[in-house]
């Protein structure tokens, strides 16, 4: 036998099928139906906003990120998720700035992929909410002509949005300020006013199921968020159904589904332990109900997640599993 050339590597010598790019691009793929729904509901404006926010995120990652870090797909996710939290008529340049800010100040400044504390998409959104409070709450009405732009997508930087948009209050706005509930079926299917990806609870849930089945997201996070929202909202509702919204309304409206399934489950910014995931999700659910019911804003998912993001290192530390065979280690000191 001729002498073969042999590798010498340390064990293990085989590798499971998962890879970080595969996880990231699967998340992107699972968003396609949601993006499709947004386009169906809001017309070309949806694609314009998503394109702008993704371009901002990707360009920033390309310019300031590690070499070849675009291939891992994480910047694309940040851009898309940010875009999905924006209204359809949002000016593209603002969406671009949001994407750039999310990647730059939400991720790269911490050291890039895996190092950031806060969900970069939500950092971008928080920035946009602070910088452009009017534009980000200008919700175009559903059911306009499909091809019509839903607002000043092409507005130039720092010029007022010159296009008159037909707007509609979101279900949460109606609830908060006018005390007017929205039909639940419309919420589930998504043909209400709201952000691009806030609208179709069913499609988001399907995407989440796909990811959870591949263990690309920890199902305990959305499960505990939704359960805790249902429990806390249900408790309030049972005290005074006239004053507080029903738990189903709470679950299906606003950014809760998108937040619970796509934002809170960001692996980098959520706990690594399963016990931690339950605590993290429950905390988010509680904060969402608190902000929505008693806060000054109609929607609280973004702040709820960002606040709990900050607690993740502590949650992780507190929920370390007990090492095998150390049942009495603590007692023994």
């Amino acid at each position: 036998m001729s002498e073969p050339r042999l590798d010498l590597t340390a064990s293990p010598h085989i590798k499971g099928p998962d890879s970080t790019p595969r996880i990231m691009w699967s998340v992107v793929a699972s968003l396609v139906p949601v993006i499709g729904a947004a386009t169906w509901l809001f017309g070309p404006s949806a694609l314009l906003v998503l394109f702008a926010s993704s371009a901002g995120a990707v360009a920033t990652e390309r310019l300031f990120g590690a070499r070849n870090s675009l291939g891992d797909g994480s910047a694309a996710i940040t851009g898309l998720l940010l875009g999905l939290t924006l209204p359809a008529g949002f000016p593209m340049w603002m969406a671009f700035v949001g994407g750039a800010f999310g990647i730059g100040f939400g991720k790269l400044i911490f050291g890039g992929l895996g190092q950031n504390v806060f969900n970069p998409a939500l950092v971008g959104r928080a920035f946009l909410q602070a910088a452009f409070p009017t534009a980000i709450t200008t919700w175009p009405a559903a059911g306009q002509a499909w091809g019509a732009l839903r607002g000043g997508n092409f507005a130039l930087p720092f010029m007022s949005a010159g296009v008159d948009a037909v707007t509609e209050a979101t279900p949460l706005n109606l609830m908060k300020f006018d005390h007017q509930p929205t039909e639940l079926l419309r919420l589930a299917l998504g043909n209400t006013g709201g952000s691009l990806g806030e609208t179709s609870a069913v499609l988001i849930l399907l995407g989440g199921l796909f990811l959870a089945s591949r263990r690309y997201l920890n199902w305990r996070v959305p499960a505990s968020i939704l359960a805790s929202v249902a429990v806390f909202a249900g408790a309030l509702w049972s005290i005074d159904p006239a004053r507080y919204p029903s738990p189903l309304f709470m679950l299906l409206s606003g950014g809760l589904m998108l937040g619970a399934i796509y934002m809170a489950t960001d692996m980098v910014t959520s706990p690594t332990t399963n016990r931690g995931a339950w605590i993290f999700g429950t905390g988010i659910g509680l904060l969402v109900v608190l902000i929505r019911v008693w806060g000054g804003l109609p929607e609280g998912v973004m702040y709820a997640i960002l606040l709990m993001n900050a607690l993740v290192p502590f949650i992780d530390r507190a929920t370390q599993p007990r090492v095998f065979g150390t049942r009495t280690a603590k007692a023994a000191g």
């Binding site: 590597t9 010598h13 998962d18 890879s19 992929l113 690594t272 332990t273 007990r322 095998f324 065979g325």
Partner: protein, 442 residues
């Protein structure tokens, strides 16, 4: 027993055993040369008894045990000692070894010997006979078998746990042993129960070996309390601590041995080897190995003389395909890579797995994305991702504080890591560095 036939966590690599699971064991002809390292077992290496030019018969002792945790080594073929010197060892180092040129036309019949009648022997005499036969654990660690037969007086052993899990992908050594020699395994169990004075034995076998389960169930002794427990197929089910957890629900305390929870664990092939001592009187001079993998032309289960060179065993299996990349002694999860085809298969060699380009390609490493998959994989509940960061920072003492000692290098964390971070590999290195530091400090 309150076990649930599985431990928590672990991984599910494809078992890839179909290559050899149903291939009957064949006996390999004697090669032209046998190389016997003096270090083939855990403990002190054996002390040389022969010199260059000596003629030895098959089964003759060529090196003797050096102390209690040591075993003798026997010639696995009749021939002439041509050289004693450094030779490549499966662990990657060079070790002192005896080279024997095998006599071509020898009938290879061992000298006549007394077969010990186990019934008349006291436990101490059984222990002595097993040590004299050079039997070690054949599951990989090569721990001298007689040491497990003589636990310290104060240990309360209440059962024998027979390890037929064979959770490493590809390997079918134990599987074929159980399927083809169930009576021998049962006989080994009987001797071990007699010697340990325990009244109960449980045979744990992963469910992917139904024929082995069936064979051992069929041959269960009527007069002993021996049961077969089919186990969940999961890696590393065959690790002692995991097996004990699966069968009894008990956790071996960190840093302690199975006997602290009343168990002695022995692998099925080792039990068959113990049985052979009392069936034939022959010492451990041959063993069953699986030679398999996508780059082996004719994957086989073979009986080989101990000391057969890798090259000869591969040749007998039809040789290698051209896309061979890596040759391992042991399975793909914990096996040792081999660089030299002249390396001998020794007592502790469970199998040879030859991987090709498809299995063993270099992978890009990404930053840790905190997915937590390694935490869900680690069978001893460590935090591999954190340990990995400490290793990269060179903080070995902090790793020790984070229970690095409990890591058994099973490789589950590296297997699942989507970012291809070489976690287990770094832990092996860190453990080595810490060991060296301690030697230096002492």
């Amino acid at each position: 027993m309150s076990g649930r036939a599985a431990f928590r966590h672990g991984v599910h690599p494809p078992d890839s055993k179909e290559l050899t699971a149903h291939v009957a064991i064949r006996r390999m002809p004697f090669p032209e040369e046998i190389v016997l390292p003096l270090r083939q077992h855990a403990g002190k290496p054996a002390k040389l008894l022969v010199g260059k030019g000596d003629r030895v018969e098959r089964g003759d002792k060529i090196a003797e045990a050096d102390g209690f945790v040591s075993v003798p080594i026997h010639a696995s073929a009749a021939g002439v000692v041509t050289d004693i010197g450094w030779w490549p060892h499966p662990d990657g180092s060079m070790a002192e070894a005896v080279r024997i040129r095998v006599e071509k036309y020898s009938p290879q019949v061992p000298r006549p010997r007394l077969v010990p009648e186990w019934k008349g022997l006291s436990p101490a005499q059984v222990v002595q006979a097993v040590q004299a036969a050079g039997v070690v654990g054949l599951g990989g660690a090569a721990f001298p078998a007689h040491v497990k037969l003589s636990p310290p007086k104060d240990a309360e052993i209440d059962f024998l746990l027979v390890n037929g899990a064979e959770c490493e992908p590809y390997l079918t050594t134990d599987h074929r042993t159980m399927a083809e020699y169930p009576e021998r395994v049962q006989f080994g169990i009987r001797i071990m129960m007699h010697t340990l004075g325990v009244s109960r034995a449980v045979i744990g076998i992963e469910k992917n070996k139904p024929d082995a389960i069936e064979a051992l169930r069929r041959t269960l002794p009527a007069d002993l309390d021996v049961t077969v427990l089919p186990l969940t197929v999961k890696y590393p089910q065959g690790a002692e601590k995991m097996l004990i957890k699966a069968v009894t629900g008990r956790e071996v305390p960190s840093g302690k041995l199975p006997m602290h929870v009343g168990a002695i664990v022995q692998n099925v092939a080792s039990l068959a080897a113990i049985a052979e001592v009392f069936e034939t009187g022959l010492p451990l001079i041959e063993r069953i190995v699986t030679i398999t993998g996508p780059a082996v032309r004719k994957p086989s289960n073979l009986i080989v003389p101990v000391g057969t060179k890798l090259r000869d065993a591969l040749d007998f299996c039809g040789g290698l395909t051209d896309d061979v990349v890596e040759i391992l002694f042991g399975g793909p999860m914990m096996g040792l890579p081999q660089s030299d085809l002249d390396t001998p298969l020794i007592k502790g060699t469970t199998g040879v797995v030859v991987l090709n380009e498809a299995q063993s390609k270099p992978r890009v490493t990404y930053p840790c994305i905190r997915c937590g998959h390694c935490l869900d994989a680690c069978p001893v509940f460590l935090h591999p991702s954190k340990l990995g960061q400490l290793a990269q920072a060179g903080r070995y003492e902090d790793m020790e504080a984070s229970n690095l000692a409990d890591c058994m290098l099973c490789g589950a964390c590296s297997y699942v890591c989507p970012s291809n971070i070489p976690l287990s590999q770094m832990f092996a290195l860190s453990k080595n560095l810490l060991k060296k530091q301690k030697v230096k400090a002492a």
